[in-house]
């Protein structure tokens, strides 16, 4: 059970998908014009994430390695369709304001990333908690961005008008540039807090994830989860991705949680033979 709580902590804070892993940037930037939109998007993603993690974890010994991506997509797409119809039926206004971003949950980095790096290698119950933790972390991230943008851009919070701000709307924060600016400032604040915690003697383990933030290429290729690009020490500035991709010895010492360490190794194993092209070449050579 302790492991499950660790998964929740991991998703909410240590590897928060929005502020640390920088996954799922398209919905993060596009739908967070208000706090309600952020919560709606976050919770619907959470539901899909939990269900798909459980399903994929249950099927992990049946799905052949070579077709795991299409299999994951089919599982995720089924749940997204269910969630989409439920939202259309019961929350039509939220459905209308989220628009295309609900079906796009299918290719959300976070969902495919967790399926690939955690659910396909771990039992059902920890996978479920991993999904809950990551989903809630995503929800918290989106809601925070949404609240800040709504207060600054629209003078309201959670749809409630703030009378003091009636004459002080800054329209920019309701638009795309405002999303980038708010996200940047929140990540900076988060990094300051993490650094302070580290200085106070609570070193945080190294972080995995991709830095590209490009959902379309990220979600469809398996390369998303195979790299460990972010390392949370202030002295190290990643210059060359190739250098940083290699896990450094001190990184491994810092990793406290056994589940996470196992995770790292598994990810690297899968990263080495993940490409379909490589598999084909290997197969041909074996045939000869």
């Amino acid at each position: 059970m302790n492991k499950n709580i660790e998964r929740l902590y991991n998703g909410l804070w240590k590897e928060n998908p929005t502020f640390v892993l920088m996954l799922g940037m398209c919905p993060t930037l596009a739908v967070t014009t208000s706090a309600i939109n952020g919560i709606g998007m976050g919770l619907s993603t959470t539901v899909v994430l939990v269900l798909s993690n459980m399903m994929i974890s249950a099927l992990r010994n049946i799905i052949p390695d070579r077709v795991r991506m299409p299999a994951f997509i089919v599982v995720v797409a089924s749940f997204v369709t269910i969630v989409q119809f439920l939202m259309q039926g019961f929350t039509p206004s939220l459905y209308a304001s989220l628009g295309i971003y609900i079906p796009l949950i299918v290719v959300n980095c976070i969902i495919l990333g967790r399926a690939e790096s955690y659910a396909s290698k771990n039992p059902v119950i920890p996978s479920m908690f991993d999904g809950i933790g990551m989903g809630l972390g995503f929800t918290v991230g989106l809601t925070l961005i949404g609240v800040v943008r709504e207060i600054l851009g629209n003078g309201s919070a959670f749809g409630v008008n703030i009378p003091a701000l009636n004459d002080y709307h800054i329209t920019l924060f309701g638009l795309a540039p405002g999303a980038f600016i708010v996200l940047g400032f929140l990540v900076a604040i988060m990094n300051v807090v993490r650094r302070k915690m580290e200085a106070a003697g609570k070193p945080l383990p190294a972080v995995q994830g991709c830095l590209s933030g490009d959902c379309s290429s990220c979600g469809l290729s398996s390369s998303c989860t195979g790299k460990s690009l972010v390392h949370n020490t202030p002295e190290e500035i990643p210059v060359d991705p190739k250098d940083v991709a290699k896990p450094q010895p001190e990184t491994k010492i810092e990793v406290k949680h056994t589940a996470n360490a196992k995770n790292t190794e598994d990810v690297e194993k899968s990263g080495s033979d993940s490409s379909y092209a490589d598999d084909d070449i290997v197969g041909k050579e074996e045939d000869k």
Binding site: I170, T171, L172, F173, L175, P177, I181, G184
Partner: protein
Amino acid sequence: MSDLLKVSSSPHVRAKDDTSRIMLYVILALMPTTVFGIFNFGYRALLLVLVCIFTCVISEWLFEKAVGKKSTIGDLSAAVTGLLLALNLPFTLPVWQAVLGSIFAIVVVKMLFGGLGQNFMNPALGGRAFLVISFAATMTHFEYDGVAGATPLALLKSGEAVNTLDMLIGRTGGTIGETSAICILIGAIILILLGVIDLIIPGVYIVSFAIFVCVFGGHGFDTSYLVAHLCGGGLMLGAFFMATDYVTSPITPAGKVIFGICLGVLTGIFRIFGNSAEGVSFAIIFSNLLVPLIEKVTVPRAFGVVRERKPKEVKADE
């Protein structure tokens, strides 16, 4: 005696120009425009100028204090940013919006990217763009002589006649610093005589814009229409004071020409085919973003180097 025998590595001859001196020249050259703007629009213009300069300098100082860097407000670049931003605002703008714009210009556009020399776009124009997008109503509300009205450019766009003599002198509505073409030209001549800017970027900008207006403006070579376009809006102010910003303009000779053409064509497209009557600030910001690419493809050949397999060499440098 000791000076003569001093042993040091090169350079041995140093120019007097440093950042603060050049910035001082720019402030000096902006003085005719500023004084005319204050005279033209009254005390509120003076208030906005002072507020913008004060906010820019203070926010740069506070930011550097907060992140533990050495203070750079002595180089006067923050003061120039504040002055330029104020000259780009209508004098009726509420003070709190001017303060927000100044903070945005310094903190987000300049300091977060590393301070002077690292900013990828002109901070004053970044601040202006922030204000135009955020407060469209107050940023496009122009008054002159107590009467709210359209700027000459807006009149021109809707097909009405404008008084080009008034536009030359500056007796029209508009932002604080953009109305008087003559005052801006006086400032520009000061800058050119002092050697702070050269004529390539503003010259190519204005000429290419004039050609664009002649070809696509729908009036052919109509002198009064052309003069109205050249003197109206922020074209003069932008061409001489903001497009020539050292940090955000190319340093290669061919790059300067390409940069100027970019500016002229973009301004023409925004003014003639766009929704808004004015487009200088966005044209300059957009061209600022292209500067690294322009510089990359226009690296001059070093003396004595024979050009061979040129496409590969450029890529190998990256």
